[in-house]
Symmetry: C2
Subunit: 199 residues, 2 copies
DNA sequence: GTCTACTTGACACTCAGTGACACCATGCGC
DNA sequence: GCGCATGGTGTCACTGAGTGTCAAGTAGAC
């Protein structure tokens, strides 16, 4: 079915309305000053409905960012085994970066909000940590390394550190610098560590 | 004054009582199942007093860990300029690791609790992110690099990624592996990236 | 003794998040 | 057309985190 059933589309509609309302309000007053009641009222639904679509107030904002990298580990696993880890990891991390670069007008305020709001940053980093677990497992499987080897986790952490550094620099430059170019530059620096993941 | 004034000592006493109560309760029932009221009651103080000593429920646990690395950037800044960045960063990160290794019996359950509880992990990573900012500034100052150079932030992130990896492995091994040996092994892998921070 | 500074307990309040129940629309078998 | 299951929604009520305020108690300075 190409149309994901009416109910699914309505769900997307409400979700989008809620995120839009949340972002508009938070851009004006900041994350903490906006209550869930305000977001729900602005979107025209009840407070309870908000929590049927999002697990928490942070979730509205953070999910925008984390949805982009949801299949990071899958991307890595899909890369050919012959590819060096540094290149495979770069491809995995590039997906969300490219998504940001492609919607700079929408994404930049969101990323800025997340990186500058402690509560949002905390939740975002927790998600990134989950990505690290997934990437670590995928890297270990690729290289045939055991769970006691430090290198897969180090490589995953270093690659995600590059991801964060790119986002940071992108926001700091107000979107002036090209995220993809920044990613390339970052991976040029960290490449040697990533390619240490060999049997 | 060698005795930090009676009031300061009493403050430490209450704080210690609260953290002890929190850890005992959470070790038994988990972080989420324990309420601030229970912690305060167990420690023999009022709920309000709890929040005069800790900013949040997460703070009781996370502060134990983050206090160890509070002067990470200061340690880095105190290292001789001639020292290669990889060695200076390793010294900076070793301080909290050594503290963990020195009090394995007390620290291991705390680290395990933090790494396995989403809310605690989120707050911990937020603190680590602040360390990254500080280390980045110190590294840039050491090398005389501008704020637009990716390398200081990449190096700081990579070093802290090693820090996290060591903690992860330490917990996964139930404390069997030596944290200092793990740190040395990790920094051997990431060394090249850290030493890329040169003018 | 008194005054000041600091901590505490008690109370009240906002807000995040959850559970329970009733309501309503769509879709399906009869 | 009718009855019925399903899934989203609104309302209400509740727990728990976190904050502001005020009164009371105590150590230390004068």
């Amino acid at each position: 079915m190409e149309t994901p059933s009416l109910t699914a589309r309505m769900r997307l509609l409400v979700t989008g309305e809620l995120t839009g309302a949340a972002l508009r309000l938070m851009a004006a007053d900041g994350f903490d000053a906006v209550t869930v009641d305000q977001i729900a009222a602005t979107a025209g639904v009840s407070r309870r409905t908000f929590f049927r679509h999002f697990a928490s107030k942070e979730d509205v904002v953070v999910r925008l960012l984390t949805d982009m990298g949801g299949d990071m580990a899958a991307t890595l696993a899909a890369r050919p085994e012959s590819e060096p880890p540094s290149l495979a990891l770069r491809h995995a991390v590039t997906a969300p970066i490219a998504a940001c670069a492609g919607h700079a007008g929408d994404a930049l305020p969101v990323v800025r909000l997340v990186l500058t709001t402690p509560a949002l940053l905390a939740r975002f980093l927790e998600r990134v940590s989950a990505w690290q677990d997934e990437l670590t497992a995928a890297l270990a499987a690729r290289a045939g390394l055991g769970a006691d080897d430090l290198r897969p986790r180090l490589a995953a952490g270093t690659a995600l550190s590059a991801f964060g550094t790119v986002l940071h620099r992108w926001v700091a430059s107000e979107g002036a610098e090209d995220p993809l170019a920044l990613t390339e530059a970052a991976f040029t620096v960290i490449g040697p560590v990533l390619d240490a993941v060999r049997r």
